[in-house]
Amino acid sequence: MQTLLDFIQNNIELFYVVILSVFLGIEVISRVPSVLHTPLMSGANAIHGVIIIGSIIVMGEASPDNYLVLTLGFIAVIVGTLNVVGGFVVTDRMLEMFKTGKKGASKQIKEN
């Protein structure tokens, strides 16, 4: 219990960041028209590709002769990049199809 409390105390600002982000995520999304559900899922999917930063740090901090870590890190960077690049490109392609949708789009804007 004491450890947990201390942990919270030492990272209290992080906890605020977490809680505020949770609320923000909910608020930002909660009125999206259903036709955007799939692109939004895909866009959010690209955003969690930010995990790649962790893999870059892992690689950057690994000593150049630690082959196990290097291999794991190498794979991690590849799949992380896949997540980021693939995610954004797929989302963009999905949204491309809505570009001429003035009628539908403007209607839905009013609804918001």
Partner: protein
Amino acid sequence: MQTNILSICYLIGSVSFIIGLKMLSNPATARRGNLVSAAGMGIAIFGTLFLYQPAGTQFNNYGWIVGAMIIGTLIGAISARKVKMTAMPEMVSIFNGMGGLCAALISIVEFGRIAQDNADMHVLSILAGMIIGSVSFAGSMIAYGKLSGKIKDHAFPGQHIFNLVVLFVIVLLGALIILGDNASSIFIFGGILILSLSYGVLFVLPIGGADMPVVISLLNSFTGIATACAGFLYNNPVMLTGGILVGSAGAILTILMCKAMNRSLKNVLIGSFGGAKAASGAAVGEQGNYREISLSDAAMVMAYAHKVIIVPGYGLAVAQAQHTCHELEKSLRKNGVEVKYAIHPVAGRMPGHMNVLLAEADVSYDDLLELEPANEEFGSADVVLILGANDVVNPAAENDPSSPIYGMPVLQVWKAKTVIINKRSMRPGYAGIDNQLFFQPNSSMLFGDAKDVLQQLINQVKDI
């Protein structure tokens, strides 16, 4: 100084994620929103690459990192560019799995590093990141397999209980690592890894293939949380905010997707109807009398109509008949018929499925009617042609409170003079329920695979 600037890069990244998500949720700004997030991501990634200073040592292995990034970029960009519109959900599922894998790999490496010291709470972040990342990775792969038809639904009796037990064992072993000694922990860690991967598989396997979009959205949220765990571990605010944002937005999105189908998340995950079960179970209910219409009659009625509204559904996607459908539209127009499409928001198997499908066949966006305008126009239509849609045109949603889809807004096709329904049989659709529409006096059935039927209709219309 370097660290200062990196902090600001991260701040910019976080803000761009927020703004990007916000813009993504509005049709008018969605595409730019995606670019905003991408730009922020770029700043955060390149900032890390050039400005990150590890405590103690220096930044190593630039070559490997850049190499890996180039490989990832090439594979990612090419596969994302090449994939067919209709296979996009599969693609999203794979990319999501990659994010989960990345989180799991990071946790594995960091566990090896930190196992020596005993920084309790860091171990917690590592474990959580590994478990959630692995579940997300394995689950996404299965979801991908199901969407692409490579994997069928599997379930054994008591699987839900079994899954819960697996989950419980994972938590137990995790507690053992945090509280126990360090000697054996590496083995326990390996055990947890395997169990987590299995859990991911077991979790997704029994869920109906049609529910995969919801599952992917949920796993998406999981990967977000795994990312946030890594953010906690590295005290890295952009990973933390990005991960949490996706985690909470993904969770809400999952709920919204369920709501749009008038179902609950629990219902989707435990699967009280839908998917395999429904197709076998509720096949033939009490039936009335339905009329059939011949191909030539159907072609005649449409060719001489003033206004035809086409209602595409899941069957059109199954038959991959979008191009043929566009052909029919063109030949009807040549005959002076006004043709429109009525798009139900949850027609098909992912939100926007019909939009994607018809866009692929170059159907003009201006001819697509959304639910409400469509319901206003049906009254003035001579013919409504339903292509492989079923639940989204089921009147039970409006007049049968005992129906599982009661309350879902549907396309009121029955307001039209004539309704022609194309499907292969009298079997029910996704919800596994009968459709009284088929038995109404102004309805008639046109059996057959959508693509074949459409092709023959085109030929007939040309002959007129």
